[in-house]
């Protein structure tokens, strides 16, 4: 689960990580009401769950309150990568002497939370990671011990030289780690972490993601969820035991199992089509799941044909076929469907499906090719 920058800042503040003053506003009126009358340099930032908002014009500076209102008006309602900006963060801009990057992530290789830091903070951090990975310090953290102060200092010393600055940075790292663990985070970044001319170390921009599997024990984090339109669909699917991700193509696919679902998308692409989604219905033959899945699939207006790809393992194909027949009877649609069944009791399953008059095939390749043809009609 993602949260907005302003929410990450609120969490930082709660855990004692210093951030400049700021306020989130949904309307221009809110900016007028909530931003103090004092004229000072402020930054107005679009709050959206996509990267690259600066380049898209979603981040602007303002010297006066009047200007802040004007810039907020420009940003509110603008589209960034297809997402409408519904709120802006109006924050005090601070003078920056130097920018740094610090972040925590669950690292697959060390199987631990890993602290990363770099003296080359700012928007180009991914480029730094690619071109000169040696400029990024990495430290895996022992889960039974947590991030100890001496470890935080070891990192801070590589970023700062003044003892007071080192102490401020180490403090921030320890607090960030506590926040990370206590909220079941999967990513916590401060980018940039800055040093101001008056030698304050501050978090300017923050990004936090959370482990979806742990949300059951993170009620406060869950209550912060502000999903956009595509994410809402994915959340709705999750609640029904389905895993759905919308893509840009026109061939809908419904598959049992995540790996097979990805391989199905690949197959569609390999034969010249474009998948409209990733959709994993899991391992059950429950007709209701198929109905739910079809409804989600077909709510995407781009879908011109549907490929259902099922490999029967423990769940037998004839059971799946019965479920499909019931489901397809309930769904009235003109979108053409092709079904591929293979695995346990595939023959019996195919016989059952044939009664529906829908095209059934035995291999993934045929199914993909048929779906692509059908999408062109």
């Amino acid at each position: 689960m993602k949260i907005h920058e302003y929410q990450a800042r609120n969490l930082f503040r709660k855990y004692g990580i210093p951030v400049p003053e700021g306020v989130v506003c949904h309307t221009v009126d809110e900016v007028k009401q909530n931003v103090s009358d004092k004229d000072k340099l402020r930054v107005i930032k679009a709050q959206v769950h996509v990267g690259g908002r600066g380049k898209a014009g979603g981040v602007k500076l303002a010297n006066t309150k009047a200007e802040a209102v004007e810039k907020a008006e420009q940003i509110l309602g603008m589209e960034i990568k297809g997402i409408t900006v519904e709120k802006v963060l109006v924050a005090d801009a601070v003078d920056i002497e130097k920018e740094f990057y610090v972040g925590l992530i669950n690292d697959r290789n060390s199987k631990s939370v890993t602290l990363m830091a770099s003296a080359e903070g700012g928007v180009e951090i991914e480029e730094v990671a690619k071109v000169s990975p040696e400029k990024i310090i990495k430290m895996p953290i022992d889960p039974s011990m947590g991030l100890m102060p001496w470890q935080a200092r070891k990192i801070a010393i590589q970023l700062f030289s003044d003892p007071k600055e080192i102490r401020q940075c180490a403090n921030i790292l320890v607090k960030l780690y506590r926040l990370y663990i206590e909220t079941d985070s999967s990513l916590a970044e401060i980018n940039p972490l800055v040093l101001t001319p008056d030698k304050q170390v501050l978090a300017i921009d923050g990004k936090m993601n959370f482990d979806d599997n742990a949300l059951y024990r993170q009620k406060e984090i869950l209550s912060m969820r502000e999903a956009d339109k595509d994410e809402l669909k994915e959340i709705e699917a999750n609640a029904k035991g389905l895993s759905y991700i919308k893509l840009d193509g026109n061939i809908g696919c419904m598959v049992n199992g995540a790996g097979l679902a990805m391989a199905t998308m690949d197959m569609i692409k390999l034969y010249g089509g474009e998948p409209a989604n990733f959709l994993d219905i899991g391992g059950s033959s429950n007709p209701q799941k198929v109905v739910d899945a079809m409804n989600i699939l077909l709510s995407d207006q781009n879908v011109k044909s549907v490929m259902i790809n099922i490999f029967g393992g423990i769940t037998r194909c004839d059971d799946v076929a019965r479920g499909l027949v019931i489901a397809l009877d309930q769904i009235k649609t003109n979108v053409p469907i092709v079904i591929r069944l293979s695995g346990t009791n595939a023959k019996e399953g195919l016989e059952i499906i044939k009664q529906t008059g829908l095209p059934v095939v035995e291999t993934m390749r045929e199914a993909a090719q048929t779906a692509i043809e059908l999408s062109k009609k």
Partner: protein, 290 residues
């Protein structure tokens, strides 16, 4: 021969009285797996599918001499179950449960290391040595004894590939579904090393996915350490980049994780990468000179 499990493996089922635990206990027993016991706190003395139930893994191990366990408990209790098995001296723990929080798996890791426990999963279908032992939820009927090893990050895609291997006459030594979670137990390299050392395995099929850099590491391992041929497939070649990755994700893998990079790494290690699953048996046969 085989890796990890064989006809002598003694298995206990953690969460045996649950719906999934009981169902798959019956399936595993039907296949011939030596299921010697199960656990369910407070239900000691009961039986499930003719298998005695114990209060704890420790009790089950003492009474049965079990050396492997399979976990079917809900996600919130999975890490606890893994640690319980590790402390009780179980050598191989297979965690089928999905949706286990990552922080829980991170806490489990040093415990496994301390006791030398091998973990498969979580969020995996399990493993099978055909005609000897099945641990997990794999559909038994598609597997056949033979000389090909298989490691996979996914479930149904594995069945798809195994089915094709079997249909084309290629049986398997041991097939392992390692699961697709970010932090899990045994990974590609651990298993490749076991296959390399297993006299019965003559070739290995590796089914990877986008994300992380385990495939790239596997490719390096194959190039440097393996004498046996490996054939690979990468699922998710069409997935849009960066869908679930923040800056830190890109940083930790130093820019790797895409299908192209994985395929490139495999090609550099002389590992053919199948364009679609259907090409896998042919590539294996080519490598084996069949």
């Amino acid at each position: 021969m085989s890796i990890l499990i064989n006809k002598d493996t003694k298995v206990i089922v953690q969460g045996i009285t649950g719906r999934d635990g009981a169902f798959h206990t019956e399936k595993m027993k039907a296949y011939g797996t030596n299921v010697v016991g199960g656990t369910s706190p407070g239900k000691a003395g009961q039986e499930v599918e003719g298998v005695p139930v114990f209060n704890s893994v420790e009790d089950a191990v003492k009474a049965t001499g079990a050396n492997a366990s399979v976990i079917f408990v809900p996600a919130a209790f999975a890490a606890d179950a893994i640690m319980e098995a590790s402390y009780a001296g179980i050598e191989l723990v297979v965690c089928i449960t999905e949706h286990v929080p990552v922080q829980d798996m991170i806490k489990v890791t040093p415990v496994l290391k301390k006791h030398g426990t091998k973990l498969i999963g979580a969020n995996c279908p399990g493993l099978i040595t055909p005609e000897e032992c099945l641990i997990g939820i794999l559909p038994a009927m598609i597997f056949k004894k033979g000389n090909v090893g298989l490691i996979s990050r996914s479930g149904t895609l594995t069945y798809e590939v195994v089915n094709m291997l079997t249909e084309s006459g290629l049986g398997q030594t041991t097939c392992v579904g390692i699961g697709g979670d970010a932090v899990s137990g045994l990974y590609f390299i651990d298993l490749l090393e076991m296959y390399e050392n297993d006299p019965a395995t003559e070739a290995v099929v590796l089914i990877g996915e986008i994300g992380g850099d385990a495939e790239e590491q596997a490719a390096r391992f194959i190039k440097e350490k393996m004498t046996k041929p490996v054939v690979a497939f990468i699922a998710g070649q069409s997935a849009p980049p960066g869908k679930r990755m923040g800056h830190a994700g890109a940083i930790i893998s130093s820019g790797s994780g895409t299908a192209e990079e994985k395929i490139k790494a495999f090609k550099a290690a002389d590992v053919p990468v199948a364009k679609e699953p259907r090409d896998i048996p042919g590539l294996v046969k080519e490598k084996l000179g069949l």
